[in-house]
Subunit: 299 residues, 2 copies
Amino acid sequence: MDEIAAVEQLLERCRLASADASDVVVGVGDDAAVVALSGRVVVSIDTVVDGVHADLAASSLDDFGWRAMTTAVSDLAAMGVRPVGVVVAVVAPILDCLAELYDGVLAAARDLNAPVIGGDVVRGPIWSVTVTAIGDDDGRGVLRRNGARPGDTLFVTGPLGAAAVGLRALRSGGDEAATLAHRRPLARLREGRAARDGGASAMCDCSDGLSLDLDRLARASGVGIALDAVPIAAGATLEDALGGGDDYELIIATPQPHELEAAFAEAECRPPIRIGSATTDPSQRTLGGAPLPLRGWRH
Amino acid sequence: MDEIAAVEQLLERCRLASADASDVVVGVGDDAAVVALSGRVVVSIDTVVDGVHADLAASSLDDFGWRAMTTAVSDLAAMGVRPVGVVVAVVAPILDCLAELYDGVLAAARDLNAPVIGGDVVRGPIWSVTVTAIGDDDGRGVLRRNGARPGDTLFVTGPLGAAAVGLRALRSGGDEAATLAHRRPLARLREGRAARDGGASAMCDCSDGLSLDLDRLARASGVGIALDAVPIAAGATLEDALGGGDDYELIIATPQPHELEAAFAEAECRPPIRIGSATTDPSQRTLGGAPLPLRGWRH
């Protein structure tokens, strides 16, 4: 297919998919996209590169597109805001395969309620996808990672290590269902907003592994960390849970644990899981009283 | 230098550089950035790849960073809005050279009044920079490319082909000043807002060459194009002016040419240059009555 025609077809698919997004004033096809917001704009950018964040020899282009979307939109979840759209820039060695990549991008866009409102396609030697997620705080503010205080209870939104299990299943030819948490991770958007509205003090996602992301939250907040227990996904090890990365569950600190649980129930989210508390000594990092190893995914 | 330290140092530079940006509520360092807008959000994304948009064997990393910024922010100029910030994702083969790339990014950010409010740094086999520019229409609307009507006068904001001349100078070892239009192109932000406020009907930038970008504006608007003359930059050929690309001047259509000129004078911009008019026959593409060749830069 003619390259211009291939890109035109993509534009048309993005246009159709976002046709009913009422805040989108100008979508794909002009110099820039325009969105009407009700509050402040929240912006996050992430790049995934073949061979770094995924191995396209082992996984498919549509999964690669999905993961690029989740990675960026998860950062909006971690601020407690809703997405209003994404812009997507693709470096593609083969334009003929763009449609497959966009199958994953558009499936995630539908799932996340984050329409593709603009983009760029460039030829280059290796596949990479950059997604900028645009969110709206609806005037209700955002939840930063620097607000945790000593005594706050720490939660995660789900068991950890599932993505690491999925990656092993993919590499060993395991069954389809087992690979899903790695191939099609989910951003915890509803949980993020429930946490913001339920009085939490700090939040971040744990896409780089619980141990590393918790360390960042603790540093930003100037608190220590005392974990009691870590919820481990089926088939995962403690090592997977602490350092596996790519899980996209949220880490939440709150001075009001019961209100957080109530807010999650109200929003019909899975109950948040208590893992420990923030402490006064900013150098403390413990799990069950023993030192918590600092490991995780540094790109 | 330790890689984490290198990235931390960049974050600190971005933080310092945007410290006085009063709309920026949350800058670099959290999961996402937050900006307070007075109107609608305008978003554009562009990727530049080594070997595709620039040859790093012939030019420097700081120029590469500058050009990535101009490419993205020019799209805001082309909508007639002001930037409030950018997020920058870099794929870097060598993290040690990130500081040089960011010299160019931050110099452009200062020049464009577009602070770096977030980003991502990823290791990868080849240099590429993706910039998402975030703009604010201040409630005054945007200027799209689809609004030109038959009879509208067409303008450009400056002579064309300067970037092509600069590229030749760079390749032949020409003097520093001659290479500037290629290495450090400018986004026409003031001109873009003057056009919006001066009653223009359509606008786009001509980063891909006058001929190709004018064709896009004409198709989007359903009009034909009759050019009388094309302003050619010093040292450039007509070919450079029509198809050279990378010039980032704006193409403007307006039913009120005198008001546009007055708005430019009011805003202390260089006077816009008349090049022709939009016509009724949507298939017309002429220059001085002869067919206008369709050439330009398709990535």
